[in-house]
């Protein structure tokens, strides 16, 4: 009774509360600091003289208008545009560069798999199951091989995570810069995805009960949730507890990059500095030398320039 209540009700509730409050706290923490300067990193031709045309890449890599900036952010977030630029410098005799877009490939495989897995999981959270969730699941499942059907993103996510972790383990540079927390997140995600897959294919749990539990949780029917929680096998709780750990850890970790990328001033600001002047809310007064003080200091020389009619003539 206690076990079910703790793992099935208390931990998930606490985790999701920490997650929501933590993320909002972080976001507000960022928002409380001003953006003093407009510092976009321009990766394309600026908006300029009419005869210098900008192509489509320039418009999104060096946005001038709000919509171009939105476009840049869109490509950044959905296609990891900057990471796709990744080429590696080699000291080779010819200045050939080597494609180093593996990181982009693994990264995008992981993130999209995660998105698809989350959408698939909506079937546990929503009643009735939304049409797009079941359509997507059907479309991405390999039928006729295994019972139940193989959900491909669920497998791909494990592969992608393993590859991302392998980078950190076997490549020198990546190993050097990886902190324990980096490994921790990858291990946690691997544990979550592997436990989820095991549950789907090998250690079956009573899904009907799982869904009932989750629906009770999401409609705050706590008493019923507690009574159902006990009837479900322990495998679920391994998965659920790991997810809870991830959620509670999320706001205090580098995983906040998912929210942070929207706030990055080098990406979310247009390159129109000279057209629309950005205002710094705490712009300090700085006292420099005024012209009058300057004139006092170099009076004779400045007067000499004035005597010559403010111009310099070559002596030939």
């Amino acid at each position: 009774m206690i076990g079910g209540a703790v793992f099935g009700v208390v931990i998930p509730y606490v985790a999701i509360a920490v997650f929501i409050v933590g993320v909002i706290y972080k976001i507000i923490g960022w928002a409380n600091s001003a953006v003093p300067l407009k510092i976009p990193t321009t990766c394309g031709q600026q908006y300029t003289l009419p005869f210098l045309r900008r192509n489509i890449y320039d418009r999104f890599d060096c946005p001038q208008t709000m919509w171009e900036t939105v476009g840049r952010m869109f490509f950044e977030i959905f296609f990891f545009r900057s990471l796709f630029r990744n080429t590696r410098f080699y000291y080779a005799p010819q200045m050939k560069y080597k494609d180093a877009r593996w990181l982009w490939l693994f990264g995008i495989a992981f993130h999209y798999s995660l998105l698809l897995v989350l959408i698939d999981h909506l079937r546990f959270f929503m009643n009735p199951v939304p049409w797009f969730s079941s359509k997507l699941t059907d479309g991405l499942s390999l039928t006729g091989v295994f019972v139940p059907t193989l959900y491909l993103p669920g497998l791909l996510i494990v592969v992608a995570l393993a590859l991302l972790w392998a980078r950190r383990l076997f490549f020198g540079k990546e190993r050097t810069i990886s902190l324990p927390s980096d490994h921790f997140v990858l291990i946690l995600l691997l544990a979550i995805t592997i436990s989820g897959n095991l549950m789907r294919y090998f250690y079956k749990v009573d899904l009907e009960g799982v869904k009932e539990l989750i629906l009770c949780l999401s409609t705050f029917n706590v008493a019923r949730a507690v009574s159902i929680a006990d009837t479900i096998g322990p495998v679920l709780y391994i998965h659920l507890t790991l997810v809870s750990i991830l959620l509670a850890y999320f706001p205090f970790s580098k995983l906040m990059h998912s929210a942070g990328v929207f706030f990055s001033p080098t990406r979310n600001m247009p390159n129109d500095n000279r057209v629309h002047i950005h205002i710094n809310p705490w712009n300090p007064e700085v006292k420099g030398i005024t012209y009058e003080q300057y004139y006092e200091m170099y009076k004779d020389q400045l007067d000499e320039i004035a005597e010559n009619g403010y111009k310099v003539k070559p002596e030939v």
Binding site: P36, T41, N273, N280, E304
Partner: protein
């Protein structure tokens, strides 16, 4: 440039994460990589901005004689920066250490020092941020990648924050756009608050605050430089040009980086400006009070940057000019494009719309800050065919173009200089694709590193660019690299010597000056601006 090693060895080391958290201290400081400390006279002059600078200390000393309460000051300054700068706070939080930036840094490529990876450089500050400003760091200490703030950590920060040229190449590749320049800038500000500053930039900042330019030229010296340039022009072209200086009521104020007044090869570009403005008959003026376009304050702190760039608008107001043209300079244009107008808002009301009086073009992209880049201006004039150019006068040059970091990645100025260069010379070749435009490599000497004591670092940092250049030298016989940055022009000649490349460095305006057919020019020119004989039509 005496002791040159036969072979430059780049040793890559991959220490464990624990070793990465251990500070590099004065015992491991390598000659040619650490900066000398601030001079007392500059510290005295800038004491409002850089306190405690006047004490006796040297980076190689064990005791840096930090103020008693340095730790408190450091952390207060850190907190202050976090509260004032969202980018700084955000970039402390969101890095995932994916490693995309690691091999994008020219200093990392050149030195192999793992702490020169942009991510590791930022981690130096992040580890302190985690320890003192996040809960996980306070609880898990080292295991959360946090570390105590000790004097050794300060030494390490000093060593590595001044091994960055703020070129932002890493930022272009970062999936979140983490801007190491922003982090390093804040880091240097924090170090300033406890009086740990290097020698080079404060010299120029103090000089510029006093005299109006980084070199400390007095008004007479500047007038003299303009006069010499006019004499050189007269010698080569036979045209005698009167150069306006401090002239009230001119239409345009022209601001060049002060390197142009004296240094070679800046000089030939300097002549180019004068010839070009004279030829199109622009009503403009040079200024002694605001004689400096560059802004070394941008390497140090927000306040110092403002201390220098406010002069330009003040002078524009005093002289009553309508708008401003800025010369060829790299970090200057990061300042002029991204910082200056914000820092000096509201702008003087005497400024008017930047309309080119020669062609009537309205520079829409400079509508409010009223400052136009010389490449934009010249490109516009050339496009409207208001000047006659003889491309063949540059036939002895096979030209390539080095995108300077800041005009490239802070401004997006790619096509204008290329348009101008291609209008002025017959032989133009691009360097390999991944070393130009937004992916351009730094010269290795920017961001406050243009100083003798870090020569080893500079030469190593310039390696990627040198190799890229070598490629076009072999392929096309390139012998002239055009750049639009004063620091590039100062740094590259040494780099060319070091990496043994037979390439001359020059300004975009030098090529323009060479090709320009002036109205009152009576004789056909036989020499280029450098005094080399012209070789027309030679392949």
């Amino acid at each position: 440039m005496e002791e040159q090693p036969e072979v430059v060895k780049i040793e890559q080391k991959f220490p464990s994460w624990r070793d990465m958290l251990k500070p590099v201290t004065e015992k491991d400081f390598k000659h040619g990589f650490y900066h000398y400390p601030i001079l007392k006279r500059d510290a005295e002059y800038l004491k409002d901005y850089i306190p405690f600078g006047t004490r006796d200390w040297d980076p190689l000393d064990k005791d840096w004689k930090l103020p008693e309460d340095w730790k408190e000051r450091f952390l207060n300054a850190f907190k202050d920066k976090l509260e004032k700068y969202r980018p700084f706070k955000l970039y402390m939080d969101i890095c995932v250490r994916c490693g995309a930036c690691a091999d994008k840094c020219h200093y990392y490529l050149g030195t192999g020092d793992p702490k020169n990876m942009p991510v590791a450089r930022a981690e130096l500050l992040r580890s302190i941020y985690r320890r003192y400003f996040t809960k996980s760091g306070r609880i898990f200490k080292e295991w959360a990648g946090a570390r105590e703030l000790t004097e050794d950590v300060v030494k390490e920060l000093y060593y590595y924050l001044y091994q960055c040229s703020l070129c932002r190449r890493c930022s272009a590749f970062c999936p979140y756009g983490i801007d190491t320049a922003e982090i390093v800038w804040r880091g240097r500000e924090i170090l300033n608050s406890i009086g740990v500053t290097h020698r080079f930039t404060p010299i120029s900042i103090a000089a510029c605050a006093r005299t109006g330019n980084h070199l400390g030229l007095l008004p007479g010296g500047m007038a003299g430089a303009l006069q010499s340039a006019a004499e050189d022009i007269a010698e080569i072209t036979g045209v005698e040009i009167e150069v306006p200086i401090n002239k009230k009521g001119a239409e345009v104020l022209f601001v060049a980086p002060s390197g142009d007044y004296f240094a070679t090869p800046h000089w030939f570009g300097f002549m180019g400006y004068i010839m070009f403005f004279h030829e199109i008959g622009l009503d403009y003026t040079w200024s002694t009070y605001a004689g400096e376009g560059g802004n070394f304050g941008t390497f140090q702190s927000y306040e110092l940057a403002k201390l220098l760039n406010q002069k330009i608008y003040h002078e524009a107001e005093r002289l009553g000019v309508k708008w401003i043209i800025g010369g060829e300079c790299g970090h200057m244009w990061r300042d002029k494009h991204q910082f200056m107008a914000t820092m000096n808002y509201p702008l003087p009301s005497t400024l008017e719309d930047p309309v080119n009086p020669i062609t009537g073009t309205y520079f829409e992209n400079a509508a409010e800050s009223k400052m136009v880049h010389i490449a934009e201006f010249v490109a516009d004039v050339i496009k409207h065919k208001k000047v006659k150019l003889d491309k063949s006068r540059n036939d002895h040059w096979k030209v390539t173009f080095h995108d300077s970091c800041n005009p490239a990645r802070a401004m997006g100025l790619f096509e204008e200089p290329r348009y101008v260069i291609q209008s002025c010379c017959n032989y133009f070749y691009e360097m390999p694709e991944h070393t130009i435009r937004e992916k351009t490599y730094c010269c290795g000497s920017g961001g406050g590193n243009l100083t003798e004591e870090v020569m080893d670092l500079r030469m190593r940092g310039g390696m990627p660019r040198a190799l890229a250049l070598k490629e076009v030298v072999k392929k096309h016989g390139v012998n002239f690299m055009c750049t639009i940055c004063a620091q590039d022009k100062a740094a590259f000649p040494i780099l060319m010597e070091y990496w043994k490349l037979p390439v001359e460095i020059g300004a975009m305006m030098e090529l323009v000056g060479n090709a320009l057919i002036m109205k009152d020019e009576e004789q056909e020119r036989t020499l280029d601006l450098r005094g080399n004989p012209l070789k027309r039509g030679e392949e």
